[in-house]
Amino acid sequence: MEGAPHGCPGADSAQAGRGASCQGCPNQKLCASGAGAAPDPAVEEIREKMKTVRHRILVLSGKGGVGKSTFSAHLAHGLAEDGDTQVALLDIDICGPSIPKIMGLEGEQVHQSGSGWSPVYVEDNLGVMSVGFLLSSPDDAVIWRGPKKNGMIKQFLRDVDWGDVDYLVIDTPPGTSDEHLSVVQYLAAAHIDGAVILTTPQEVALQDVRKEISFCHKVKLPIIGVVENMSGFICPKCKRESQIFPPTTGGAEAMCQALKIPLLGKVPLDPHIGKSCDKGQSFFVEAPDSPATAAYKSIIQRIREFCNSRQSHDENLISP
């Protein structure tokens, strides 16, 4: 269909600016000139910086509001429960940063040190970075175009002094936008262990998850698995289960089977999760016996196992 090509070859492709799908794109001339293909020197700088980070996990979602930032926060909390594990949480949702609120760090500011920006620590072994810390007021709207957002992501990856970190969890915006392209490109030399994709049970959400999976394949980003959130609700009074978000086409389970992607687990809806996030507390501390906590712990363990198995795989490749 005229006017809406669906396959951007990418600025660094030999086809940049010359493909049929480039017709009509305002950037066509720039890409055709080859200026876009010059590698950003920041990629190497970021690779150096990432040498002290053992694992990098991206958290993606097709749709917003499926609990991705809640999940990222609790993945970080869960990994950091082992005091000897150093965890970092990077929020690259530039226009809608919610991590400071969820982590109970609203009002915190970022400090500059000789080695760069210092993360804000919620625990000794859990540091957080977000554009939310750079805003003067929680009401400030971040109205930035792509290049400025990309510049901020570059700074977050290159200029933050994370120190020695076992796991870097990166909370991304919903969908597949500039920010996703940027973070994947900047981390290209450092490698990403994999992506966790959040969804809710209904088909409208799953439609977009298939796009996320397609994106991951396209940019050669490994998929750790899918998490189905808000999967059923237990009434606190009669204890019976309802489906607030009906899995009309079989939910994430059927989709994962069809696409041969691991389903890491299902997290039920629990009103305490929202309340914990509003208070900036870990849900694991607030409601340790909730079925949702058990689901989270199981999912986090599978993610940990994936990262560790990938590490030993890499080590095997290196050994003579």
Partner: protein
Amino acid sequence: MEAAAEPGNLAGVRHIILVLSGKGGVGKSTISTELALALRHQGKKVGILDVDLCGPSIPHMLHAQGKAVHQCDSGWVPVFVDQEQSISLMSVGFLLENPDEAVVWRGPKKHALIKQFVSDVAWGELDYLVVDTPPGTSDEHMATVEALRPYKPLGALVVTTPQAVSIGDVRRELTFCKKTGLQVIGVIENMSGFACPHCAECTNVFSSGGGEELARLAGVPFLGSVPLDPQLTRSLEEGRDFIQEFPKSTAYSALTSIAHKVLHQMPALCS
């Protein structure tokens, strides 16, 4: 006073409603769809423009996925979703060959397509054009608002959920509206409470009360709360007309009440 843009294909549109949200996933597309259906049931002729380039969901909600878009002299012809041709839809979803394909475009290309959507769709005569914008204050969001801002009368509906984290994003959204000179018709709080179908106990799954308080603090009208309703979710999943099929549900009364307020709120923007 800003000079009016050449109306072109929007010349026949009486009112444009932007549906905004600070965060995705608060049900903005649901509210856009149900508002359009409710306005249609009030006898209005309605168009829907789905500008969520990376995640178009409205064709699915209106059982219009797979429909082909045709060209006419003045541009793209929107897809009619009902027999009476009183509700029409344009979405990037119609332009994708493969619904599972990821749309990974850099900003300028998205902006160009958004401008095309705004100027090149032959809507004809409409009482209301409901525009489902991309979530947050992203590039596409800004491009959509900037492309539509010259047209009048233009009003914004801001959709949120009760959860305070969502409230933070709506505060930013309202700041955005103020900065860009957009008039706010009101705030809608979606996913407000869930009544257990087994015992009727009402639970605030996503907290409570935030949307109303926020509207008060921001000095904009609070248009109402829409409860969590599995019938509504299922209806959208199956592409059915919830307004027509479930008149006894709690979400129905909330949605029709909101549509009523929108109908009476819009003329004030003309003055």
